[in-house]
Amino acid sequence: MLRLFLQFELGKVKKYFKTNTTAKVITAVLFLVVFVFLGMGIYGFFASGFRYIYFGIEEEFKIPLFLFIYETFLLILAGVIVVSSMVSGVFNLFRGQNDAWFIGTPGYKIFPKLIFVKSLFVSIWPLIIIFLPVVLAFNKMYQLGFGSFLLIIFSVILLLVLTNAITLSLIVFIGYLYFLVSKIITPVAFHFKGFVAILLVTVIVNLVYVWKVVSQLDLVRIFKADNADAIITTANIGSYFEAFPTHSLAMEILSLQRGNFNEALTHAGNLTLIALVAIIAWWLVSYLFYPLWQVFQEGNNKETEKKNTRSGKVYQFQGSQLTALFKKESLIASRNWKNVLWFSFLACIWLVQIGVSVIMEHNIRRHETDISATLAILQTIQFVIAAYFICAFTLRFVFPSFSIEKKTSWILGTAPVSMTRLFFGKYFFYTSFFVLLGLVMNYINVNVLNVSITQALYSTTLLVVTIVFVVTFGMILGALFPNKESDDPGVISTSMSGLFFTASSLLYGGLGAWTLYQALTKGELVFIEAFVLFSLLLVAVMLSRVSYVMRRSIFD
């Protein structure tokens, strides 16, 4: 069955390349080039970082600082994998397209195992793009042997296995628990949306807990920087992280760095043990999958039994056609759980950056550190991160927004609504939403750094202009080159036009960051003025071509 599944997945890839082969091959090669460059960038960044700590940091700080970096880096990486596996896992397990035929075959028992393999395969990307360059940089710095390199890679794979196993076990276990509770306590309705909401609440509760812990972290106290006589040990640092499964891997890397291969093997052994426990947990919990999958199929019938019970707002689409289209976008976006989860996932990663800023702010305030010299750099970094996330959000939600309407295009396409209005219904929704989101995030960032009003005004203006430009560009490009083969936003985003959008918007974000840095350090406003003027001019040109663009879209 596994072989059949692999053949099927391979067949899908082959089928994908059968049409528009040249364009798709070029896109794949370009992606490879981008990944290689990204990997090289990460390698360079970490290589110089390791070198700086190795030669530039005092001896007694060095080892604990290394451990602190490993622990936080691995924890963030594992957190990202857990949330990403949760989002994809929920839908792959219970809402996959055409899965009913598989569950209907005698080989249905293998299904959860296949989803585990799929989830593992998908989460390997951080290993290839992020971790491999980091390990190579680490290897170069400490001249570790091939054995050590293999041991780290093996352990990272174990970490992926255990995070995926724990996440999928949690999904099925929570789902089953929810089912049991709904059976015992009848007013508790059992349906997929309720399940997703429970998972979302679980993630939020955990995030709030992590936030509380993290925001209280006192870096000075951790490193005993306020006490010259105190001795910092790795045990001090480790004690903050020993509850997390990533601790063993962090300790293993540190042992290799110190040249203690046997100790590293012991930590790898610990990690193997934890991974085994996670796999056994998944193996046991996977027995609950089939009955759970079956009751999720009943969900729809249960719903229709209770006539007119759906509470909540009924959209009546009052107002003009444009208002109706705007409201339709907000309805579809807010009720699509998959989108909500993906949005939450990206927002979580953004929150990590804000979390780091909050820790910094706490420590700066507590120890009255003077950061005026680095304020411009910090503010520029915040802008770069914000611009990156705006590009990521636009790529995931705005760029595919016309292509995903393929099956429902008959509704809008046959209505007496001008193509321009159809465009602006979407455009106003996404622009206003992302501008609002950007302003909230920027407000937090600006407050954390406690910058002057003028500095805050610079970054806010640039961010709003960047958002408007990126969203306009993404929407125009998405409408101009609609993907007629797929309505999966993941696939649509990886098309050649998606890649072009990614590269161009990131470059544009970089230009915005440079402009901000010039204004903050040299007070050069001419660059900001030019950037704003140039961007608004381009936005105006793009919007003036809407009717031509829409003639090429899926509505024609």
Binding site: N308, R310, V314, Y315, Q321, L331, I411, T414, P416, D556
Partner: protein
Amino acid sequence: MLKVQKITKLFGKKKAVNGVSFEINKGEIFSLIGPNSSGKTTIVKTITGLLRPTSGSVEIGGIDVAKFPEKTKAQVGYIPDEPTVWSYMTGEEFLYFTQALFGVPESKRKANIPKLLKIFKLQGSEKDYFEDYSRGNRQKFSIVAAMSHDPKLLLIDEPIVGLDPTGAEIAKNIFLEYAKKGGSILLVTHTLSVAQEISNRIGILKDGKLRAVGTLAELRRKAGLAESASLEEVYMKLA
């Protein structure tokens, strides 16, 4: 009401529709029948404005679809062969949304909903999401949505696929009633019994070309069949 003149539609090098012309008068039901890939759906989509003809023209109520699409679309109600609606929209919201798009006055929209739901006895399911509807219920909502703005022309692609026998009967009666009141219908179907039962005239399409057009009696004569011959027999002979 509808005038289709020599429309041709090319998809790449493939000719899906080849110089098709026909007219539908006020109060008339015209059925287009033909084998798979004969160009039926392409013709309907061209009339709705979802597709642009490679050559030829379409007029609705004397107005050119290509030149004034908004004006012609306002007169048309379209029922597609695959009535896919946004999964997380309820049936009731879909009816409100369709009316908003077609410019039905706000004061009338709310009052229309119960009337529309009553047609197929959809009361009680209007607050469920489309993802929870059966194929038949999706079809029923798409039919009532198409009629919600009192169109002058109905374009129907496979009207009764997925409908239960009662639903199919109701649908046929609605279409007959609609035509009786002066509405025009273009019906595209594989269900020949429905076409035979409700159509005034029928067109037989094959390989993108209209092979024969006329009333059932005229088609029987053209096929050289007896007056009692069914549309199925006529179709087998002419298609």
